[in-house]
Amino acid sequence: MKRTVTVTVLNQSGVLNRITGLFTKRQFNIESITVGPTETEGISKMTVIVHVEDERVAEQVLKQLNKQVDVLKVTDITDQAVVSRELALIKVLTTPQTRAEINVIIEPFRATIIDVARDSVTIQVVGNFEKIEAMIELLRPYGIKELSRTGQTALTRGSQKQVTDLKQYSILK
């Protein structure tokens, strides 16, 4: 099963190494990890997407992270109302004929073309995991030359009432 865990850490040197080292030592499988500063100076937040076998391992992930001296807070937000976003840069092969088609495909995703070359375009898209997956699948037939994704970062919603994440990326509009 897949869990989304946020980890608030003191921004000490080596702290990222500590966390990833822990995942290696305990054989927890990371799908993605993002890190960045928070609203408080000296404190960073990581968002880790981790694959675990069962509840027991999921609990171990939280407990082992909590044991780290530099870790201030660990939360499994998988079952909470969250907003989660990821940014992807996708370089797609183009020909004069396909360029227009690609434009049509990416538009509903609110993606933008940020670089154009003779035989390719680079597209930037921001969204949750599923949205990005969906767009990549649509672009795949054209030939993806390069792909770079940041991994997801997430916040719990201000109001925990389940407001569904508006699915703004239907190609039917």
Partner: protein
């Protein structure tokens, strides 16, 4: 030696070097002794030590220094302090740090580092000690700024000794040790928002445990080293006696409950007693106090305590539910939890039948060994050592058959007298650990029981024993083999003794003599008894090479992958 340098070479201002600061901080922590070995990167620290009276024990190898610090910490309850130089000095500590991490021993380890300006350039004797020790320490630090040193040292001692104890490492670049700084403000308070170990039990869970006790028909206590760390032996005894509940110990928990007590069932696990293991198998309530359900204890988890409601008291929340599903989790210091439990309205369980069943099992399946008269029986030898020391000695072991025989037959009745490497199973541990234990308790009889192979991993410390005239008693259970390996090859590899028989052994007696230590070699139990009688209570070091029956096995056993109820070698 230090007397003539009384006037400190301090400049006129109040400036102090990093090294002076280090010494001041150790004094503030009331460190009485440090174990270490000098080298280039720690020369400034050693220079400061030269001018300051903190006792330093010069081991002959860094691995031995840290094992000695572990032995010291194990029997004294105080943190063991270690110093080693950068690069090879630091990497020689890796086994000891891991050992301390596995067995929850409080250590503060200082390593030298190359100067800050050249870190990362593969400088002479540079090693990425922070990276290397990250997964084997409770926490580690590199001092990047002199101003940070007092805070870091205070935090390190705090982290090492509180919550679940463990090793903390501080890496000090050479230039930091020589830099002069303002007289710093020494901190006494620690401010670690990410480190707040909980010691007080949740009252509702304690109540739940009390209810479970009242309901149980087949209750059992499993007591581990957490009881010893928490100084909770007395409370354990009261609880067990008041509720009339039988007790099993883990390997590292031996001594937390008197072995001669009628409620004691012995050690559980791979080489535990049949009754201890069957009790865990059949119990309907298993109360784990300060043990971590290690695989050598549980055997195949599928067959571990299948009938039991499991209660687990542990200071480390991550241990609860890690290996065994737990119904009553109590995150707390063992002593506080037991005290709270004893204050509750406890109702003793109706477990008379259970106790009778266990007593009968103990009668029918006692620990047994070959009664053959010829040669020295290691089990009888261990009982002999017990008798001659009145069961009062501090006993350390190395790892292997002799370790299991000592655990089975010495009979520990008090906590903090038993020193062994449990989690990591480190050969070479026992002898230097005995040195550390003797330094902590100079008046007590300290016996180091070792295998002939493991002793050769750290035997250079004979030099240290001789130098300090430490009355450590080294007893080698000499079976001319890597005995435990040989036993497994006999049992599981059709007697293919691949690399487990040592064709060339030193003359251990002469070896001892080379260091100026009395040595004896004994080949019969009569000889052994007379030499042990003569030497065990003496005030000088001695080495006794005991030629034990080379083929003796450790029985009974749970084979790897098997369950608690599948013990073999239960009867002659």
């Amino acid at each position: 030696m230090n007397a003539k340098v009384k006037t400190k070479a301090k400049p006129l201002t109040q400036a102090m070097s990093g090294a002076d600061l280090f010494i001041e901080a150790l004094k503030k922590e009331e460190v009485e002794v440090v174990f270490g070995y000098p080298g280039g990167a720690v020369l400034p620290l050693y220079d400061a030590l030269y001018r300051n009276p903190i006792r330093h024990i010069l081991a002959r190898h860094e691995q031995a220094a840290i094992h000695a610090a572990e032995g010291y910490a194990r029997v004294s309850g105080k943190p063991g302090v270690v110093i080693a130089t950068s690069g090879p000095g630091a990497t020689n500590l890796v086994t000891g740090i891991t050992d301390a991490m596995m067995d929850s021993l409080p250590l503060v380890v200082f390593t030298g580092q190359v100067a800050t300006g050249v870190i990362g350039t593969d400088a002479f004797q540079e090693a990425d000690v922070i990276g290397i020790t990250m997964p084997i320490t409770k926490h580690n630090y590199q001092v990047r700024d002199l101003k940070e040193m007092p805070r870091i040292i205070r935090e390190a001692f705090h982290i090492a000794t509180t919550g679940r104890p463990g090793p903390v490492l501080i890496d000090i670049p050479k230039d930091i040790a020589t830099t002069l700084g303002e007289d710093p403000a020494f901190v006494t308070e620690v401010n670690l928002p990410g480190y707040q170990p909980n010691t007080a039990p949740n009252v509702l869970q304690v109540k739940k445990l009390a209810d479970a006790v009242a309901q149980a028909k087949k209750p059992l206590i499993l007591a581990g080293a957490g009881v010893i760390h928490a100084h909770a032996s007395e409370q354990l005894l009261s609880f067990a006696e008041e509720m009339n509940i039988p007790v099993v110990n883990t390997l590292l928990g031996l001594g937390s409950f008197p072995s001669d007590h009628p409620l004691f069932l012995g050690m559980g696990g791979m080489h535990g007693t049949y009754t201890a293991n069957m009790a865990m198998y059949e119990a309907d309530l298993l109360i784990n106090i300060g043990a971590r359900f290690d695989d050598r204890l549980t055997g195949n988890l599928q067959h571990f305590a299948p009938e039991a409601t499991v209660a687990h008291i542990d200071i480390d929340p991550a241990e609860i539910g890690k290996n065994v599903d737990t119904h009553i989790p109590i995150v707390a210091d063992a002593k506080e939890a037991l005290e709270k439990l004893l204050e509750t309205d406890l109702v003793a369980p109706d477990a008379n039948e259970w106790r009778i069943q266990l007593k009968e099992s103990q009668k029918e399946f006692p620990l047994w060994h070959s009664e053959e008269e010829e040669g020295i029986s290691p089990q009888r030898l261990t009982k002999m050592i017990h008798d001659i020391t009145n069961g009062e000695a501090i006993v350390t072991t190395d790892v292997g058959q002799h370790q299991m025989w000592t655990a089975q037959y010495y009979g520990f009745n008090r906590p903090n007298r038993w020193v062994t490497s449990g989690g990591l199973g480190t050969m070479g541990f026992g002898f230097p650990a005995a040195i550390g234990a003797q330094i902590a308790h100079p008046e007590d009889t300290v016996v180091a029981i070792a295998g002939d192979a493991g002793f050769q991993m750290t035997l250079q410390e004979l030099g240290l024993v001789a130098e300090l005239n430490l009355p450590v008693k080294i007893i080698i259970y000499n079976n001319q083999a890597l005995g435990m390996v040989r036993q497994w090859q006999e049992a599981f590899y059709e007697e293919r003794y691949s690399q487990s028989l040592i064709p060339c052994q030193p003359d251990f007696v002469k070896l001892a003599q080379a260091y100026g230590i009395k040595g004896y070699s004994v080949t019969t139990e009569e000889e052994a008894e007379s030499v042990l009688n003569e030497t065990l209570n003496s005030r000088e070091p001695v080495l006794i090479d005991c030629r034990i029956k080379p083929k003796e096995k450790v029985c009974p056993m749970i084979a790897p992958g098997k369950g608690l109820h599948e013990m073999i070698g239960v009867k002659p």
